[in-house]
């Protein structure tokens, strides 16, 4: 029972709870079976109602820049997870595992199970 073990248990619990919660949002516009992990650089983080969202630039397989938008929940919900308006800053390198993506092919997603900012996993 060391800290590493407890961390693993905690992460497992987070994944167990957060995946079904986000899968719940699988309405017609979102494909919850698609959970790509995208790497990119933050351009802006919007802390606002009804939902906070992140803008970041990533490159597709052809090297073209794609402007991604990723949605979180509302500020009170995100505060509860320890987020602030400064959780993401322009220039941060991020690796986002989506919980779902827009069916219409737009680079729009919802946060999923894992967020890495400048090499550090964001804890919820």
């Amino acid at each position: 029972m060391n800290n590493r073990f407890l961390t693993c248990v905690l992460m497992a619990a987070v994944l167990t709870f957060s995946i079904p919660a986000l899968a719940h949002h699988g309405n017609a516009s979102y494909d919850v079976t698609q959970k790509p992990t995208i790497k990119g650089v933050v351009t802006e983080f919007i802390w606002a109602n009804p939902h906070c969202y992140l803008k970041f630039d990533a490159k597709d397989e052809n090297g073209n820049v794609v402007h991604w938008l990723v949605e979180a929940s509302n500020p009170p919900d995100q505060t509860r997870e320890g987020w602030t308006k400064n959780t993401f800053k322009p220039g941060d390198e991020v690796e986002i595992t989506m919980g779902s993506v827009a069916r219409n092919g737009q680079p729009i997603g919802r946060f999923g199970s894992r967020i890495v900012i400048n090499g550090k996993v964001l804890k919820g």
Binding site: H24, H51, N74, P75, T79, A102
Partner: protein
């Protein structure tokens, strides 16, 4: 100006969908996050449910006192699919577009008139949910959610404040408030007064720890909850706020509307709310027209339905 209702509709639907899922099954919170939040002086966040487990009462309940800041979030107060006792969604909203609520596990006692009224309301959530473009939720077009919907949806953080002869309910969501007169005045004759979005309310102590409120005169343009349960202007709502100890109170909310429901029903039944510290600073939770418009353009209905941007 025409942009606002569209933005609001998309924003509301998205919030209902996201928040109903997130808080129906609240994610655990790491020790680091809990500790960091506990140190905050501004924009405080209520503890998660686990933090309340096995907590012993700090002191006995004060007599005839509701005052303070309270948390409904931990016990599931974010009721995106309808009130706690009668949700209109299945597990995960896999069913939508139904004409009635026969697919709902615990059904409300609709009369024929109530069922007909229900069918006119097109919600964005629950088994009868329709695409947001077809929804006619009055909140989508900027109307107040009204009462008792303020207790049947987004029952997060709220404050009871006492003034001379009245109790004021201050709601985090949309920064609404509600006045409950406790100076002995009777309820008005609803045929003599104009309808109100939050109705006319009077309350009294029925014992030292139980405050009961009766509300009438609610504008029938309001829905009772997100899934579009209707009510008439003749509806009466009875609340029982029962203080268990200093830290805990339970709330029961009864809807009495015989034209639409053959029996009274409790949307909340002994629902637990927890006392928060007096220093708790309530985070703002308002959908402004500016922000929701931006959201809708980038991430809302227009962005994710059809071809997109």
């Amino acid at each position: 100006m025409q942009k606002y209702p569209i933005a609001f509709a998309g924003a509301l639907l998205a919030t209902m969908l996201l928040s109903s899922g997130l808080y129906a099954q609240q994610a655990p919170q790491s020790k680091e996050v809990a500790e960091a939040l506990a140190k905050r002086r501004w924009n405080n966040s209520p503890p998660v449910k686990a933090a309340y487990a096995n907590r012993r009462p700090s002191r006995p309940a004060p007599k005839r006192d509701l005052s303070g800041i309270w948390d409904g979030t931990a016990e599931g107060g974010v009721e995106g699919n309808g009130p706690h006792e009668y949700p209109a969604g299945d597990n995960g909203n896999q069913i939508s577009g139904r004409e009635d609520e026969s697919a709902v596990k615990r059904q409300l006692p609709f009369t024929a008139a109530g069922l007909a009224a229900l069918k006119k309301n097109k919600p964005g959530v629950g088994v009868r949910s329709v695409d947001v473009a077809l929804a006619n939720d009055p909140v989508n077009t900027g109307n107040p959610q009204g009462f008792p919907r303020m207790l049947f949806y987004e029952l997060r953080v709220f404050e009871w404040a006492q003034l001379k002869g009245q109790w004021i309910y201050l709601d985090q969501f949309m920064q609404n408030y509600r006045v409950v007169w406790a100076d002995g005045r009777p309820l008005p004759d609803i045929n003599e007064v104009e309808p109100r979005w939050f109705g006319y309310a009077v309350g009294k102590w029925t014992d030292d720890y139980t405050f009961e409120i009766d509300t009438v005169g609610v504008n029938e343009k309001t829905w009772l909850d997100n899934p579009g349960r209707p009510h008439t202007y003749e509806m009466k709502v009875h609340e029982v706020w029962h203080r268990l100890d200093y830290d805990t109170m339970e709330l029961t909310v009864t809807v009495d509307d015989p034209k639409y429901y053959s029996q009274k029903w409790n949307g909340l039944e002994k629902f637990i709310v927890h006392r928060l510290p007096d220093t708790f600073d309530m985070e703002e939770f308002i959908y402004s027209g500016l922000e929701t418009s931006d959201y809708d353009d980038l991430l809302g209905t227009k962005a994710v339905i059809g071809k997109g941007k």
